[in-house]
């Protein structure tokens, strides 16, 4: 039988264009913070999983490079890749190692240094994230382009507008402006978003997350060890996971992400919460994968916070600000906090842990009443999906 697993320490670097640090230094910011938070030494970490996609950065084996720099050598390690959901995959693997009894304490470290390459090269790498030969090689799709295919279909079917999408950017910049670790700490107006240039029609500059450097880390421990280490463990209640076709052309519908829906259903099943389109009722706060504004709209629906076709109405009605049905992306989200690909999923779990423990900046702290939070992390264009539920209550107790 699987053991209960708790988060006992988290770390999160400042996200942004981090020309002031190299890969090892960037990872160390989060690793040292997580060790301090947990009150642990490197020798206590029995295994560390590193999520990093790379290609745009110089170090080909980031796991051992940051292991050496951070004093985690000679503990076992591996790098994992699930595109933009790599971080959640790392958390899942670390979770499984602890739950299975393989180790008592494991660390998941997310890392990406994207700005070691010029922008057109990074655009090229991310555009190749799908099916290289049949999609990219002949037709030059980009990451914004793939999501634009969803935006076009969604807007056509449900009557959502470019303004609706921009509302997600306005909200996430509003909270990003209150997060000292965010890439963009400036509010934007609806007008500014609407007047920005097209990147991949109908998505504009302010619909898109930036090219970001950053790191994040979480330390997981078995229930018994967690109890010894801390009075405030945050439990991992559920992790749902799914994938979808590499070729977007193999999908039937471009108004939702099937993998995200499946991952959400799995996570809800594990947590024993299943009913209806008001799933927000179970949570105090959510971090969802808003790599593009359309992705946030689809996330509301795929998580069943809203019925299909009604996600954009939550934005119109301001339901995802603090005080609404459920505050979403109080960190600023990928949109404003930034999207260092491999770090994003671990960063979401770190952020939600801090939210549940009520230790984020006051003006972006969700009221914690239910003691539950949810992370929705998508890799590629719905290629991978992980939905993670965190709880202040020990599962099943």
């Amino acid at each position: 039988m699987a053991r209960d697993v708790a988060i006992v320490g988290v770390g999160h670097s400042r996200y942004g264009v981090r020309s002031d640090v190299n890969i090892g230094e960037l990872a160390w910011e989060s690793i040292s913070m997580a060790l301090d938070d947990a009150g642990l030494e490197q020798r206590d970490i029995e295994y560390f999983v590193v999520s990093s996609v790379g290609g745009w950065s110089s170090e080909y084996l980031p796991a051992v490079v940051i292991g050496e720099y951070s004093g985690l050598t000679p503990k076992g390690t591996a790098r994992v890749e699930a595109a933009c959901a790599s971080g959640s995959a790392a958390v899942k693997l670390a979770y499984d190692m602890v739950a299975s009894g393989s180790v008592d304490i494991a660390m998941a470290i997310g890392l990406e240094k994207m700005n070691e390459s010029p922008t057109p090269t990074v655009v090229e790498f991310i555009g190749r994230a799908g099916n290289y030969f049949w999609e990219f090689h002949n037709f030059g799709l980009t990451f914004p382009g793939y999501y634009a295919l969803y935006a076009t279909a969604y807007m056509d079917r449900y009557g959502a507008t470019e303004e609706d999408l921009c509302l997600a950017a306005v909200k996430n910049h509003y909270y990003g402006a209150r997060n000292p670790k965010a890439h963009f700490q400036k509010e934007v107006t609806l007008e500014k978003c609407m007047s920005s240039r097209y990147i991949a029609w109908p998505l504009k500059l302010y619909d898109c997350s930036p090219i970001t450097d950053g790191s994040s880390a979480v330390i997981l421990a078995s229930g018994e060890v967690a109890r010894e280490l801390t009075d405030t463990p945050v439990w991992i209640e559920a992790i749902g996971h799914a994938s979808d076709t590499a070729n977007l052309s193999k999908r039937d519908d471009f108004t939702y992400l099937r993998a995200a829906r499946l991952a959400a259903e799995q996570a809800y099943m594990q947590a024993g919460i299943l009913d209806g389109y008001e799933m927000y009722k179970y949570f105090d706060v959510a971090e969802v994968h808003d790599c593009f504004t359309i992705a946030e709209v689809m996330a509301y629906e795929d998580l069943r916070f809203a019925k299909p076709g009604e996600g954009h109405k939550m934005l119109r009605d301001g339901e995802t600000y603090i005080g609404g049905k459920i505050p979403v992306n109080l960190s600023g989200g990928l949109k404003a906090k930034g999207h260092p690909i491999g770090a994003t999923g671990v960063g979401m779990v770190a952020e939600l842990t801090n939210q549940l423990l009520q230790r984020v900046e006051k003006d972006r702290q969700a009221p914690i009443e239910k003691g539950r939070a949810i992370a929705h992390n998508v890799g590629g264009t719905g290629h991978y999906a992980y939905v993670t539920i965190l709880s202040l209550d020990r599962p099943g107790r």
Binding site: V17, S19, V123, E124, F133, W134, D156, P202, N247
Partner: protein, 185 residues
């Protein structure tokens, strides 16, 4: 700006990179090191002195019929002889029934537009093109085909419109591929 004067994203980027590299070379001449302060933060950066060009060699042996037929102006794909499953892109093996006994069948050349976008900010290897439109079209057989759409303005397209597939030579690389053409106004 008139069409003749239009500078491609590639020309712009290459020009910027050339200026940047000249700057680093001048730093190297005076310092003996390829280091320079980052334009925004002032943090010291090292400019990599080793670089590679990546270009892959990909086997198409298992689906060579697709390309043979494309040369003849035909658009074909694989259908499993054992279970009847139709695949696009074509593939050699049928994971559904775990047999590898495919027949090549010709596909419809008309379908309905499912969704589309225009790529404005391009990847480096596509940065020599003007903005291009990419769409996914559903064929009557129930499979979808992604390709460029020959049109200059995405706002003139609409979901559900009829599209016709044409086999074309892609310039300037000059290889045979296929693209969608709106089949109605």
């Amino acid at each position: 700006m008139s069409r003749e004067e239009k500078v491609s994203q590639r020309e712009l980027f290459d020009k910027q990179m050339k200026e940047f590299e000249e700057f680093v070379e001048s730093m190297k001449d005076s310092l003996g090191l390829p280091t320079f302060p980052d334009m925004k933060s002032g943090a010291l950066q090292w400019y990599d002195q080793r670089w590679i060009t990546t270009r892959f060699v990909i086997s198409v042996e298992g689906i060579k019929e697709f390309f043979d037929k494309l040369i003849d102006g035909k658009f074909v794909t694989t259908k499993c002889r054992s279970c009847g499953e139709l695949y696009f892109p074509p593939q050699k093996d049928c994971p559904k029934c775990r047999k590898s006994d495919m027949e090549w069948v010709e596909l419809s050349r008309e379908g309905e537009l499912l969704t589309y976008t225009q790529i404005n900010v391009k990847p480096y290897s596509f940065s020599h093109y003007d903005d291009y439109i990419v769409g996914i079209v559903r064929l009557p057989e129930g499979i979808n085909v992604t390709a460029w759409i020959r049109a200059d303005d995405p706002s003139k397209l609409r979901i559900g419109m009829k599209m016709r597939l044409e086999i074309v030579r892609r310039k300037p690389e000059n290889y045979i591929t296929y693209e969608w053409v709106p089949a109605e106004e």
